[in-house]
């Protein structure tokens, strides 16, 4: 079993597809992950399971890999003891979670926004360009810069962090393609790429908010949290007026598009 703890999760799922069902039982959604390079032991550690649930999960996976055999279940070594339950973020990580709220507002509005989009109309084209500008400037430059240049730098080389960085790159690819499609007036590609971006980011944010951030938080000392908070505050100061403008845009989109939808359904 030790060997499998050090194997990447996609390899295990490909070899033993039922392992994905076991992970799903514990709300560990590795099967649809775009990257899947996390090691099994990393996946178990980062999901903050109670020691009983961790043992049970590994026992079920062992049964998938070695059916009918009595396998000794190793205990995953953790840097910090975890308390399963409610998520409480440090003030540094809380800043990132708060920024996700604005990104999620745009993601939520996207299906309605894209339903009848036609970039041959100046108004629709501007809406798409503004949304892409929000994604590139707020979600990527401002928010991802904090993650990539500050937070993730502290955890370089860890598989789940590498997976998150790869998802950032996949997202950038979708946005680049959507922008090119705007220039060509290709409504179909705009829709496909922005919806793909939405699906990717929705899952990405969920993984960060519920799994990665709480784990990173527990692995940072009080002093490191303070340093990170100070660096994030520096970024906030640098982008203050821009971030407020983009947060205003996300609020406006939510109000305009989602509210309109609610009114139509009433």
């Amino acid at each position: 079993m030790e060997i499998y703890l050090n194997k990447n999760i996609k390899e295990i799922i490909n070899q033993f597809p039922k392992a994905a069902d076991v992970l799903n039982e514990y709300d560990i959604a590795c099967a649809p992950c775009n990257v899947g390079t996390c090691l099994l032991k990393g996946v178990v550690e980062v999901h903050n399971l109670s020691s009983e649930a961790e043992h049970e999960l590994l026992k079920k996976i062992a049964q998938v890999i070695f059916p009918g055999k009595d396998v000794e279940i190793p205990k995953i070594k953790r840097k910090v003891a975890h308390a399963a339950g409610q998520i409480k973020y440090s003030p540094a990580i809380r800043k990132l979670v708060d920024e996700h709220v604005y990104i999620k507002k745009l993601l939520a509005a996207m299906p309605i926004m894209l339903e009848s989009i036609d970039v041959s109309s100046a108004e629709d084209k501007q809406l798409i360009l503004n949304s892409i500008d929000f994604i590139r400037s707020y979600a990527d430059k401002y928010h991802h810069a904090k993650e990539e240049d500050i937070l993730f730098k502290k955890f370089e080389g860890i598989e789940i962090v590498k997976a998150m960085l790869e998802e950032h790159d996949i997202g950038r690819g979708h946005i680049k393609a959507a922008l090119e499609a705007v220039e060509k007036g290709d409504n179909q590609t705009i829709r496909e790429r922005l919806i793909a971006y939405r699906e990717l980011l929705k899952e990405h944010i969920k993984k960060e908010d519920e799994i990665l951030y709480p784990w990173l938080d527990k692995n940072l000392s009080v002093s490191e949290i303070g340093e990170m908070f100070s660096k994030f505050s520096g970024v906030d100061k640098q982008y203050l007026s821009a971030s407020q403008r983009y947060e205003g845009f996300a609020n406006k989109i939510e109000e305009k598009i989602l509210h309109k939808e609610v009114l139509q359904n009433d």
């Binding site: 003030p91 009080v222 949290i225």
Partner: protein, 154 residues
Amino acid sequence: MIEGCPGSKTMDLRETETQGEGESVKVGSQLRQWPIQMHLISPTAPYFQGADVVLVADCVAYAFGNFHNDYLKGKSIGIACPKLDSEQEIYAEKIKGWIDDAKINTLTVLIMQVPCCSGLVKLAQEAAQSASRKVPIKYIVVGVQGEILQEEWL
């Protein structure tokens, strides 16, 4: 036995005093400064500059056996009693001075579980709100037998 205020309720803990019984272990001090009492400290003393600071209720270090290694190591300190100390508005000014002038990195407030001790967290929180800088503040509640009951960021 005096009933009423939980802060001064008599408790006999002799029967539960078992940890390390009979052993004599030398624990080195992690104190990096003097003075430590909030009326005596200068908030801009060199050891507060950019430091991780602990603001500790007087009783904590007696209740929590491993205080030096677990919470004092690498930190600067101020101690106070929110129940008995007078002129606590001076403490608030000093905490504000830590944040704005000494530009401390973090503030951790350690209090006892008794209700009156929570006044120290409130004092720190209000002082921090009046400061122009923001720093992460954590509070830790210690039980009378030295157990950590709660540890949270504000």
